[in-house]
Symmetry: C2
Subunit: 427 residues, 2 copies
């Protein structure tokens, strides 16, 4: 008897899932003995279901999906943390296995969801919540578990990577790159979740939780976006042999977990440096395996549906074989989150400042006042109206000291023009 799937949400990803199921149903049965059938489709709009040829399965009431006694697996593709949470928890409570692509939910309420799954004795799978179609959660939960993972670090937001690529390759400024990304459908009308780094923060919270066996939530992640980055920064990086990426970074340290999202300079020879456009990549370092990297499309109908349907088929395999969840929550440790103030890094900081005598001396004094050793100071691109860019690159310093330097410079009378651009350097 076929394993029955109820789909909640028929947008881009949901549509992709329906298409895969219809195209490959026979292949799944022939190749893997997995007999899986779409039983119900829920969304606000019947037209979406009809467009994918499953209008006869449509309902606009998710309760009809999560309470359908025939359904074995509920796929939640609404997104967000309100209705989606109700659906996920409701489905688990009703004894369904759940597959979701919901990074926000897993990064904010992961523990609650995992606990609900355990209480129900059902599976929760969420490969599509990070890196689109890239297999990364499954490798971390299976192939790589013999390792103590030291680092998980990646380009996990395609929108900002597209923008930074356009800015670096074509000299676009931030506003042009954003408009272009919006025109291409890569950025939302309100781009905050992407450009302010929140999307990436949710994803690294999920990855760090799995990699370090310790719960990390979105609120634990220090987050800077790319809004202050200009073409000057990308040129300066190139001159120094670096590229700028919005990286989501998590390191295991003796003191705890160092987890953050911010624009980052990485050497141009690093494997992540050539990941351009909307592509994503996640770089993992383990004590046995050494460096590994997982690369692919981080978003889009096909890639996300590939990950969702991979989960659906795996869970269906278990349902058919009468197997319960093989891996539950693995957050068995309770590691501290290292405060951002304690980060030690090299820093690139660009200030747009008034072009007048004494300014450079006052700024450089601020670095000295807080014990931050400066590696280089370069003036770049003299502006038209008495404004100039001054770029500082520091030796390794503590975040706390850098913050004090920046506060001191911000307090200088009539010096700063606009937000400074601060980029940390990851070697």
């Amino acid at each position: 008897m076929a394993v029955k799937v109820g789909l909640v949400g028929t947008g881009t990803v949901g549509g992709g899932c329906i298409d895969i199921l219809l195209a490959h149903k026979d292949d799944f049965k022939r190749h893997y003995g997995i007999d899986v059938e779409l039983a119900r489709v829920c969304s606000l709009d019947a037209a979406e279901a009809e467009a994918h040829g499953v209008g006869h399965l449509f309902t606009n009431d998710f309760n009809e999906v999560i309470n359908d006694p025939d359904i074995d697996i509920v796929v939640e593709l609404i997104g967000g943390t309100t209705f989606a949470k109700t659906v996920v928890l409701g489905a688990l409570a009703a004894g369904k296995n759940v597959v979701t692509a919901n990074k926000a939910l897993m990064a904010s309420s992961g523990q609650e969801v995992m606990d609900a799954a355990e209480a129900a004795g059902k599976e929760i799978a969420f490969e599509a919540s990070v890196g689109g179609g890239i297999p990364i959660i499954d490798p971390l939960k299976h192939s790589l578990i013999a390792n103590e993972i030291e680092t998980v670090m990646g380009i996990v937001n395609g929108t900002t990577n597209y923008m930074l690529t356009r800015m670096a390759d074509d000299g676009m400024d931030y506003d042009e790159a954003l408009k272009e990304a919006q025109a291409q459908g890569f950025a939302e009308a309100n781009p905050s979740a992407d450009v302010d780094g929140f999307d990436a923060a949710a994803k690294i919270a999920i990855l760090a939780s799995i990699a370090f066996n310790s719960r990390v939530t979105m609120d634990d992640v220090y987050t800077d976006g790319i809004t202050a980055i200009t073409p000057v920064d990308l040129e300066a990086a190139r001159d120094m042999g670096y590229v700028v990426k919005l990286l989501a970074i998590a390191h295991r340290r003796p003191e705890g977990i160092d987890v953050r999202v911010h624009p980052t300079m990485i050497p141009e020879g690093h494997q992540l440096a050539t990941v351009n456009g909307v592509m994503n990549a996640i770089y993992v370092v383990g004590d046995a395996v050494g460096e590994t990297m997982f690369f692919g499309a981080g978003a889009g109908s096909g890639p996300a549906a590939s990950a969702v349907m991979g989960d659906v088929l795996e869970v269906a395999r278990h349902v058919q074989q009468g197997i319960g969840p093989i891996v539950g929550c693995t957050c068995t440790d309770d590691l501290a989150i290292i405060p951002m103030d304690e980060l030690r890094s090299k820093y690139y900081i660009r200030f747009s400042v008034a072009d007048r005598p004494g300014v450079l001396a006052a700024m450089t004094a601020a670095f000295a006042n807080h014990g931050v050793s400066v590696h280089s100071v370069v003036q770049r691109g003299k502006g038209k109206s008495g404004v100039v860019d001054v770029v500082y690159v520091t030796h390794t310093a503590q975040e706390k000291a850098i913050r004090a330097v920046m506060d001191e410079i911000a307090a200088l009378n009539d010096v700063l023009h606009g937000e400074p651009s601060l980029i940390r350097v990851e070697e």
Copy 2:
């Protein structure tokens, strides 16, 4: 009660596995509830077991491992297809689950091994047989199964990739690069399995079998090595915007499976082009997921042991939970192997020829005689002793025709000096 593991083979990889087990045994229990215990260690040399602190588990008789009623999982790390096959089949027949890193065995006798596992109702896992520590078999068997895979293509031999990198970056010739690789421990005293492409052929046979759900054996794989490559080829490639890699390639075509190993030119912007030194990477294209790539160390004690122990822990998880094999043989289709003669590609061919009038005309006529359209002919580096390199780049042509051209040129009187270098171009 702990799941008991018997290890056969205590070389580089076996030693790595012992080290991981001893270092992380408690972590596996705490994080994943997996209680796994090394129960027996077999090799020819007690000193190897002693060196890793497990001399008390030593035996030199593999029968004592595969027939030990307490042992649940036998790990075969001998390599080769003689003793290793006896151990693997013997262990399965004795009702043990088996984990192996043996590419030669799986690429030549994969069907027999899978059948034996099925007959025994036991698991056979072999992640470490391809790409060292890189998770690739598991993603192909799980996360990516919603896709119809179109291409699996990779750098799966670290030795030749190291040599080609040294030749490209440092202008070494083949012999120098080989000596360097041998000095570094990356190449064997008899390097044939690596430099002639057989190691890569075994690996692509395994990957293609899984990706296309149709058995591909090593004998099905057309194989050229790197022995004819010179620094001239690498320079010429660079001038054209390409890099040369020994690629293992498998494409699904309407007519069947196109599978081969040979030096290949890929555009320098391709994700595989920046995979250098001993690193491996496997590039996968699926109909839903699009392009993905898996990167990491393809060999070495830690990486290979990471993959072996990943398999061991997964099987141990199943043993503890009383679960049988979740995925068996997936070669349900019987696709044809496309004969190499029918390949259509662009070709780069360098001939070292006598530097005298008429030679170029005769060679170029050979291309015309077989209907092969030439894109460019360039003479490179005039040799000392009346020998010159002539490089042809063709438009898309059929392999059969190229072979006829090469035969005709080889038959020209006193023209060729040494083996021509033929490099296919993959766009």
